[in-house]
Each structure stands twice: as structure tokens, then as C-alpha cells.
Point group: C2
Chain length 162, copies 2
């Protein structure tokens, strides 16, 4: 356990680490630029709801990797901001369904667009050939990471957002 087969030089790991910092900064900034008062956690919830559609509280919680109690309270705040809606399911009256409103979807769309803009701007400074190299390198990396054995991965790490 531990070191990889090919030692994977320090320089490579450092490069990955540095890029990681950059990427997180971009993500945070894109949200701040769009919805000043929407937090990262709230945005993650909106993303789940926007992409998966109406969800039960328990499923939303699972998708976010938090407890239902946390998800519930987050929904309180998002409802207050009118970014999501709460319905009681009529089939099973224990369940509460949560779904994104038009305003909520707007936040997600705009933040995503802004993030794309920022990344595109950064990439745009590089020659096209290098852009392509970055794309394939990162795809390879993400693919390799995707194979991480589940045992190695943290519990509720759905990683909906960066």
C-alpha cells in the first residue's frame, strides 16, 4: 500500500497540487460573481436538484453526502430565498419532495456559464495545441482517478461540485 508502481515524480505531484488550487479558486469565484448570497453548499444542492430533478429529502442528503437533518435545514434557507420548492408527496405522505425553481435554475446556469468563461479565458491564453494537450491529459487523469477502489474513497463523496 502506499507508493505507486511508477514512483510518479515529485514534480508531477506538485503540478497536480498547484492546478488543484487554481481550479478551486475558479469555482469559488464563479459562484461569488453570480449569486453573492448563495453559498457553496447551497449551490451544490441546487446543482443536484437541477440535474437530477425533484428529489426526496433523504436522497438529496445522500447526494450531498450530508445527513437529512443538514439537508433539511439547508432547504429551509433555499426555500426562503425562493430557489427551491418543497412538496409533500401524495403517494407516500412521509416523503417531502424538493425541486428547484426557475430562479434556482438560473443561479446554476449562470454560475456554470461564468465558470466556463473563466476557464476558457485561462485556456485561451495558451496555444491551441497546448489546450488539446491539457484536455487529453486531464481526461486521462480523471479516468485513472475514477478507478479508485471504493474502499479508498471517503463516505459521502459524491463530489457534485468541485
Amino acid at each position: 500500500m502506499g507508493t505507486a508502481h511508477t514512483p510518479a515524480g515529485q514534480a508531477i505531484v506538485d503540478a497536480v497540487l498547484t492546478a488543484s488550487r487554481t481550479l478551486v479558486a475558479v469555482t469559488e469565484q464563479s459562484l461569488g460573481a453570480v449569486a453573492e448570497d448563495t453559498t457553496i453548499a447551497q449551490y451544490r444542492a441546487l446543482v443536484v436538484l437541477a440535474s437530477r430533478g425533484s428529489q426526496r429529502m433523504v436522497d438529496l442528503a445522500a447526494a450531498l453526502g450530508v445527513t437529512p437533518s443538514t439537508a433539511g435545514r439547508m432547504c429551509d434557507r433555499l426555500v426562503r430565498k425562493e430557489l427551491i420548492r418543497r412538496h409533500r408527496a401524495r403517494s407516500d405522505r412521509r416523503e417531502v419532495l424538493v425541486s428547484v425553481t426557475a430562479a434556482g435554475r438560473e443561479v446554476v446556469d449562470q454560475a456554470t456559464a461564468r465558470r466556463r468563461e473563466l476557464l476558457a479565458e485561462i485556456l485561451g491564453r495558451l496555444p491551441a495545441s497546448q489546450q488539446a494537450a491539457i484536455a487529453s491529459a486531464l481526461q486521462a487523469f480523471a479516468a485513472a482517478a475514477g478507478e479508485v477502489p471504493d474502499s479508498e474513497w471517503p463516505a459521502g463523496a459524491e463530489t457534485e461540485l468541485a
Copy 2:
């Protein structure tokens, strides 16, 4: 001021986004594996202190991109866990100097090591040639990002940790 000169294809941006998620997950996991009860915020503080040495409260706060009040309370918790120390500066008695203890440094070292292991493990699944390609691609990306005009960048984004 939106799109970049070279459009930077959707596929490239998507690749960056995916890699971003992966990287963050790795970072979070490395910390959880080492110090169960040390949070990301606390770890960030430890990293600053370990790398920059003894800091005034105000400088630590700036490095973390938080207010002095937040930094101060964080230090309360870290002192309680004996991961850092608080000294009153004798040159200027307004200042409080904060520095990492041996135990604190240990947390940083181990988490860093673990993160390196995880990344090395992922990279180790790829052929050496591809590892090199990833390293140079990411270096180029980080370098390009480094040139982001300050106006575009968020206020306290020192991004000490991912």
C-alpha cells in the same frame, strides 16, 4: 468580457472541470485519513503556519482570506488541540504571534504525505509518458491561471490549500 480569444472547446473545459472535482476529493480524503478531528479550515491554518513560520494574527488572517476575528477563534480551537501556540510579541505588545507545534507540524506532514500517496497512486496507473504529459499540461495551465488579472480574482484568495 466573456469568451476567450480562442474559443477553448467545451470538451476541454469539461475535462478541466472533471479533474477539478477529482483533485478536491483527493485533498479532502487525505486530511480525513490523517487527522479525523482536524477540519479543512484548521488544516489550512496549519499549512500557512508550517510554511511561513510564526505569524501575527492579522497576517495569518490575511493569508487565509478571513477576518482577524475568524482567525483568532480558529486559533483558540487549534491551541486547545495543542497544534499551535500563541505568544505575545515582546517588541510590539499589541501583536500576538502564532506558531505551529511539533504535533501541528506532524499533522501537516502526514496529510501532505497522504495526499501525495493518493495522487501518486492515481498517476501510477498511467504510463510514464502520460504522467509527464499531465505534469507539463498542468504546469502550463497553472502558469496561465497565474496571470489572471487581479481585478478578476476574488479578494482573499490566497488559496493555501486546494
